[in-house]
Symmetry: D2
Subunit: 363 residues, 4 copies
């Protein structure tokens, strides 16, 4: 198992949903950076459940920073932050072990770790592990914003309901506005349609997938490397670490496959004496290297696999078919709460890449 | 710059399109494996240009193995293979340096490496660098097939023309059949439509994008790890190293975003005493770990950026707008030749993951 | 800063001596391994101060495991263990910031992290950070011993007083016997001379260096790789992470430089039908790969830099010479408490190497 | 097997002594650096055999650069350089396979790679593989010297004959002077004694060990990181990749174990307005971070294991004792030719560390 990532900024996530605590170690933060714990908590609250659209479980999820700070400032040493698990009800998950939930990691975990390992409550695969990702990303966002780099995301679609995409040149204010909404969308009308999709899925004991669009602005041109160390490689390697992500695309992405070069190519223009492209189908990255335009990516999130409808499965001990009914409370649309998680993972990956360009915090 | 990838099987690619040679070092091949150089060359020929649909440049592209073999068998030491550059005509690229080609890496490379670096002929960004990837992948395919694991790919779509997707349980014979076709598709009727798309683009001095679908069969369940070391993370990190890839998805991928859980979840069934899923929207991977079903992925390829139509760009030395006309020969659809490249990258990544599970070649 | 190490078994250490807690995340432990927390604590007690020969500070140092276990058994997910800091008296270190202590990391840390970083109490450089190393190593020792692999160490010399070296074939019982002694030596007479050296140094407000010899038995032949991934490379890279280590040697080590080949070469012999070498000047490693003989290494530990004698330094703010007198309590011989630390680092490095050979715990 | 090392500057070595060619890929060289191939070849000649003191085999060892340069200047893409094997006489090694040479990697390689692998001529373990290390190090030295950083080494002892150590502040001129001598020593009288030692060993069909001292000057203070990413960890991890190295120490090294703190600690002084230490028992590194004083290290080299005297071994196929007589030509003292190799490995490791501090070549 490998729950760590990063070259200069190394993120190591730990915890199971049913253990004492979950958390993260962040190694490689530059020294001398003030960390605003309240702002971090505000950011993390965006992924916390609570609205009518999300699960009813309560999670305080306030991280406690055990190391790495002195008087609120990074000391150059690894930062460890933990969140206690206070609301563990593994009873909800009893008896799942022998009958794997379809499209859930029960079966693959059993094949990987053996029968001895009890995967009730989803163990290390739990969506709850996205909280430590948000700690790391929330801190990264603070460092980035201090350098004029901002990361924002919104729900681009839920089932059949679609938000408008980010404009060509999104602003920090746009990101902030979206982040303050209960449903992180650009168009509130679209948001209302998404709520309908989610409520309808919930009413039918079902779930629904979605797409999250994320952008990073303020990155200079010339960051990244070709081939295996490009911005796309690095971001994709991290983003697929978010549970339920099944696709990642940049710029025009899969739509580019249907385009002509004359349509897809981004013409260079000069505006206010600076070079930029007239549009951004490249998503801000060519040859693995930033163009200076916004980095734009999209993550496809599958529907929550835990649905309350009866499902076909197999009892592993007998290899007999068995109808499975999953109890417990589950988000009907994981994409909703994953919006700040995509921001977080994008932010710490970009910070890692920037720190590689110039270590010691002076980037 | 980082042109290497892999944990146990390390691939280090070198070469520019205008240098003496291009090649690859493969470190970590198990000892005692026979390498069939003819089969390797046959595999590599699949990416070579030559058909009416591809570029007219001649490339012998026969690799010479400098180290790592004894009497045709791997010795446990790193294998280095090189391909000489015999047909270098950088004159075709003269004068591009100061006027960057839209959606090509000229500008980003200049911002990354400085003006001193002449990026004519695309340097290390060249599609020609996919030949060394095919050496590594072709060798990996030989080791995998010996263990009952097969990797195949086909053109799923070109512009508006679409092939049928792989069936639920593709076979080695299916892969072999596709690989022998001049146009690697399942449906020859679809192939004819794709050829039309490509020819039409060429006739209009344009290019067109495409999607490649790739599958790996024979992988046991329980391979991989959650979070950042999952099969999806590893494959995506490698696949985005192929020039022109702008999106990677697994299983239902972006289509999952529009699905309900009841539609997307893969029910478990028993067939001939063995567990499998009734369908495979997971693409053979749940929680980063193989289910035992085929691993299925798709790569979106952007249209070739080098088109002969006049394009808007900027002369960097004066920051004045300039119309650019690109000369030289270019594939109108890079997706076509990239089919074996996607296979290759998928193969060496899977071999790397399997070697990590059990080193010393006895996996 | 990089406080993590390991390929399959990844150790990420966090904490400063003056923070809330110190600890470690261990990623990659095979699932299904029982962890004996009492045995772990017993092991850790060996590095705790307390005897007349060590510092008087009290440290409970009992680790709390936050994640990674279910009912005392590893779950395959990362294990995080923390130790609270209860006896922080940074006042002892006040005013050191501007006058760096000779041969201490004050000055280098300031140059690395900037003036803003207060290095009082030694921050992340503290010897206290060896406690998390012992958590990781103590757990690794439990897994190794279950597979017939045992790691032991002793003080080989302190100043001018020398213990006898390990015999050619040390046993588990020998390791256990040494570990139970207040002073971990083979010869108690030598131990008494070492105590005299240490007491004399303390009485003279001074400190003294030492050498630790460590051996690992039970490793099969054929583990490791040539060049940069050999057993020696891996162990040295980890052992130099222990504060105060200034040299690492294997087998005859520096003595080999004075030897003839005819004297140094280890003849092969057969004993009870098994191959071994008649002596072990190779320290169990040839060409980076184990021979099957005990792995034997030695670490040179410099004298504790914090001595109470007046020392010459410079006030950085004025660049004027200043005589420095260090207050606070300090071990006169760090080598003494470092014996289990060397064992720990050796153990987790060997476990990491073995896990690479065969993942999934079935090595 | 892992023959690669480095974070930003990645070195991947390939080749066996009996293959077509040996070589190295260097990934991560900053773009825009002129490479002087003649100077590189001059550096490499220092490790080439030829003098009366070394083996009689002829090796041209002139590297051919296949990629990574344009008009003699680094292009930012990986540099691959190869050396053809022209003088392969594996017949000399026939019949060694079944009777392992004492203290040679024959046996461990067989246990690691299996019987199928013919290790005649030492395969990838050969001392000949130090030539690619010298290519990488020779190029690194050119980049470092351009930035005022110089690396030099000398033979500190051979058997019982010792050179004087480097002075407290060695200069570039001192390094250059030593490099031009046939025997790289400070004191020619000491050199004459070393030659006697080597000649006597050769005359007695024996070999002899040695110690190499290496220093790097011009490094600023504040480079490196504590714990596992310190200068000592990085250098040791690389230096143990040189065949025959059995010990690595920094500054006072093992001598520090016999010292008091009052003797070992380096007082800070001010000279010409700049801080330095009055002596340098720390070897220029405290807490893993440079002090600004010269980095000083020593490598212990074991005697060449291939000696012509009869030796005790075992025929593996029968497990019967057998007297072994090794034919072929062998250096009686590998330490002699290893002097530039230690420089090379030190140089590329330091360049790697500096590039991490500030990527893009502008360090």
């Amino acid at each position: 198992m490998s729950s760590d990532i990063g070259h200069k900024l190394k993120i190591s996530v730990f915890g199971q949903s049913h253990g004492r605590a979950i958390g993260v170690v962040i190694d490689g933060l530059p020294a001398g950076e003030a960390i605003d714990e309240e702002a971090l908590y505000t950011f993390m609250s965006r992924r916390a459940p609570g609205g009518a659209l999300a699960t009813k479980r309560k999670e305080a999820d306030r991280p406690v920073i055990l190391s790495g700070l002195m008087d609120g400032v990074t000391a150059g040493s690894p930062l460890c932050a933990v969140i206690e698990n206070t609301d563990v009800r593994s009873g909800d998950y009893v008896n799942l072990a022998d009958v794997p939930r379809p499209s859930h990691a029960d079966y693959t975990a059993r094949m990987r770790y053996g029968e001895a390992v009890d995967m009730r409550g989803s163990g290390h695969f739990s969506g709850r592990l996205t909280a430590p990702l948000c700690i790391a990303g929330g801190i990264a966002k603070q460092l980035l914003s201090r350098r004029g780099i901002f990361v924002g995301a919104h729900l681009l679609c839920v089932g059949g309901a679609s938000d408008e995409p980010f404009p060509l040149l999104p602003t920090r204010e746009l990101f902030d506005g979206v982040a303050r909404k209960p449903l992180p969308v650009l168009s509130d009308a679209a948001g209302a349609r998404m709520e309908d999709e989610i409520e309808q899925a919930r009413a039918e004991a079902d779930s629904v997938g979605g797409v999250i669009e994320c952008a990073a602005i303020g990155l200079p041109a010339g960051i990244g490397s070709p081939m295996f160390d490009g911005i796309e490689n690095r971001l994709a390697a991290a983003l697929f670490g978010i549970p339920a992500v099944k696709g990642v695309e940049f710029g025009a992405g899969f739509a580019a496959a249907k385009m002509r070069g004359s349509e897809h190519n981004d013409p260079y223009i000069v505006e206010n004496g600076r070079l930029r492209t007239a549009k951004n189908d490249a998503g801000g990255i060519i040859g693995g290297i930033t163009t200076g335009m916004p980095v734009v990516l999209r993550c496809a999130m599958k529907p929550t696999p835990s649905i309350s409808q009866p499902q076909r499965s197999v009892r592993l001990s007998t290899m007999e078919p068995e109808e499975l009914v999953i109890k417990g409370r589950h988000d009907p649309c994981v994409a909703l709460r994953a919006v700040p998680v995509v921001e977080a993972v994008t932010a710490f990956t970009i910070l890692d890449i920037l720190l590689e360009e110039n270590d010691h915090g002076a980037f």
